[in-house]
């Protein structure tokens, strides 16, 4: 039973506890409660369906941050037939909050980079809660350039509250590290698949977030800033975070509608943390399908599509310069 469950998971967990209790009771007292147990199991499934079919953005955010969600390394271990972690940015150090390495799924070689959160408090301190320093982004870039050299596709798994805001991160150029990665990822000559597996925290996520396909797991978010920060700034009240979570349009569904995300990868009912293997299977399938699609293009087509994908993001009204026909306008411009 999870130690750390969410408010809306409570009725489910109560039902599950009850079922366990009855099973134990049945064994101990040798009474047949099979019908009763079956009835509760059905009810539990029904409640689950209901709860998870109408989650609010705020609840999705809670699931995305769930301490028991599979981490990047969990997914890698479940998806890959082999994986070797590679360390260091060759300049300053090794960032444990952003990991990377080479591996294979079947005969498909991959370079994988991703934010790494911890499993326990101690582990999380070691991983800096998945908040990378500049050397993390620079390590990722080193490995991605290596991927380009050896013609290996790149998989980037995003799961971070944000890039770390600290003195040393500033001294070592956090802004430059993120900016550089975006510029380079835009032109790397190998397929790049981006998947948000938990938290997509602003620039910290985008630092490994430019590629041919952007996918999000069902119960994840991707946002310009945390709803808490947004609420504190705009409503001067962090308790308005629920309102902000809605206003920011940060869920996978919202971002698919906005044309920012290409695909939503479904999670097992109850969330990825309830079924690691099944989640990893769904992730693997999405990776291989999309990879096949990207690989069907020539490199120049792929790069053009990648550029256009980002080039067209943004909403505004463009007023035409009517009253002047094209010829006249050309004349004016060429004066």
């Amino acid at each position: 039973m999870p130690k750390d469950h969410l408010e809306f998971e409570k009725p489910l967990i109560e039902l599950e506890d009850k079922i366990k209790e009855l099973k134990q009771f049945m064994q101990e007292k040798d009474i047949d409660l099979t019908d009763e147990i079956e009835r509760l199991k059905e009810k539990s499934e029904r409640v689950k369906q209901e709860v998870y079919s109408e989650l609010e953005p705020w609840q999705i955010l809670k699931l995305a941050r769930h301490a028991e969600r599979p981490t990047t390394l969990d997914y890698i271990n479940l998806i890959c037939d082999d994986f070797i972690e590679l360390h260091g940015d060759r300049n300053y150090g090794d960032d444990r909050a952003l990991i990377g390495g080479i591996g294979k799924i079947g005969d498909q070689p991959l370079t994988i980079v991703g934010h790494q959160k911890g499993k326990s408090t101690k582990d999380n301190i070691n991983r800096n809660f998945g908040m990378a320093h500049p050397e993390g982004y620079r390590k990722a870039l080193r490995l991605m350039k290596q991927a380009e050299k050896f013609n290996r596709p790149i998989l980037a798994l995003i799961n971070t509250p944000g890039a770390y805001p600290g003195i040393e991160a500033e001294e070592r150029g956090q802004a430059e590290a993120i900016a550089k990665n975006m510029m380079e990822m835009a032109r790397l000559k190998v397929p790049i698949i981006i998947i948000v597996t938990g938290e997509g925290g602003s620039g910290g996520a985008l630092g490994i977030g430019v590629g041919d396909k952007i996918m999000m797991l069902e119960y994840t978010y991707y946002s310009v800033c945390s709803p808490e920060a947004c609420a504190a700034i705009l409503w001067k009240d962090a308790s308005e975070a629920k309102t902000a979570a809605e206003a920011l349009k940060l869920t996978a569904k919202d971002l698919l509608e906005l044309g920012i995300v290409d695909e939503i990868i479904n999670e097992p009912l109850g969330g990825a943390h309830k079924a690691f293997k099944e989640s990893a299977e769904l992730l693997k399938e999405a990776i291989l399908t999309n990879l096949q699609e990207i690989q069907s293009f020539s490199i120049s087509e792929m790069l053009e599509k990648r550029y256009d994908k980002f080039r067209q993001i943004g909403e505004y009204i463009e007023h035409s310069r009517i009253e002047v026909n094209d010829e006249q306008q050309d004349e004016v411009v060429n004066e």
Partner: protein
């Protein structure tokens, strides 16, 4: 997503009209009518040394304190007046209008307030002009408009100026000055402008063209973590505040006081993040010299 709604507004009919418009604005130069910290009152108190300065004198001194050299913030028009050769500026991209794509509460009223306050449509002015006789494509982020934050229109205008530089083989100069980062009101549409502008700069870089990034007070967040940090040459104006995360966020996170001089231009120079720190009065001269040297490229193997 790009929406081509052919609106009824046709204010910007020809490029020529915009030329005239920029001339009109030029005439205001040196009359102390700048917005922001310095109001229409006759006197201004220096934020740094407390000196009371006659506005006319302050404007003549390029808004640099006569006593302590404190650099008051410039708006985009003052910045262009400072850097661009007289009567050589042509503004473009003005036909883009900001919308409220997420239907974010109170966004429209915020926009209206800043449009009235600054006389600008958005937080960036783009165009082309000459600096010391060198034709350049230029964008100036105006920190007075919603903290110089980047939204769909700002990202689009910056991308278009990069594309103009690319297509017309012009050196590109972007003057950054915005503490707002990616604008919250447009959510992920704002954040993705960081990727969009960076991708456009990759093309400019591939084409072997020059991009000079000038950082002015303040340059933070989504602006510093995209085009502002990607210049071939990065120049910081003296004593500007430049960083990724804002000082308040850092202080909250680490629960410690920040060292003095943290995130200043001089701090960035010391940590190898900018090429040069330049005072306002020398800024144009330095740009001209870079453009001069750069214009000589390619002669070696000819």
């Amino acid at each position: 997503m790009f929406k081509d709604w052919f609106g009824s507004k046709s204010k910007y009919v020809t490029v020529k009209r915009q030329k005239e418009k920029s001339k009109e604005k030029k005439k205001k130069k040196g009359k102390g009518k700048g917005k922001g910290k310095i109001t229409d009152e006759l006197w201004t108190k220096c934020k740094n040394c407390g000196e009371i300065i006659f506005n006319k004198k302050l404007a003549q001194n390029l808004k640099v304190c006569l006593e302590c050299e404190y650099h008051f913030r410039l708006n985009s028009q003052e910045r262009l007046n400072l850097l661009i050769d007289e009567d050589s500026f042509t503004e473009f991209g003005e036909e883009l209008e900001t919308v409220n794509p997420l239907e974010f509460p109170k966004y429209e009223s915020k926009l209206k307030k800043y449009q009235e306050k600054t006389g600008l449509d958005e937080a960036v002015v783009t165009g082309e002009g000459q600096i010391g006789g060198h034709r350049v494509a230029i964008a100036v982020i105006d920190a007075n408009f919603l903290m110089g934050s980047m939204n769909s229109v700002v990202g689009e205008k910056v991308t278009r100026v990069i594309e103009t530089a690319l297509n017309e083989e012009l050196p590109l100069i972007i003057i950054s000055g915005g503490g707002g980062g990616a604008r919250m009101y447009e959510g992920m549409l704002s954040l993705m402008q960081m990727a969009k502008t960076s991708a456009a700069l990759a093309k400019l870089d591939d084409a072997g063209q020059l991009f000079i990034s000038v950082l002015t007070d303040p340059t933070y967040g989504g602006i510093s973590a995209s085009f502002a940090s990607l210049g071939d040459i990065i120049i910081a104006e003296k004593e500007a505040k430049i960083g990724f995360a804002g000082p308040r966020v850092i202080k909250q996170t680490i629960n410690k006081d920040l060292p003095s001089g943290f995130q200043t231009s001089e701090f960035q120079l010391e940590h190898g993040m900018v090429d040069k720190v330049v005072g306002r009065k020398e800024m144009k001269d330095v740009l001209v010299r870079i453009l001069d040297i750069h214009s000589l490229r390619g002669e070696v193997n000819a």
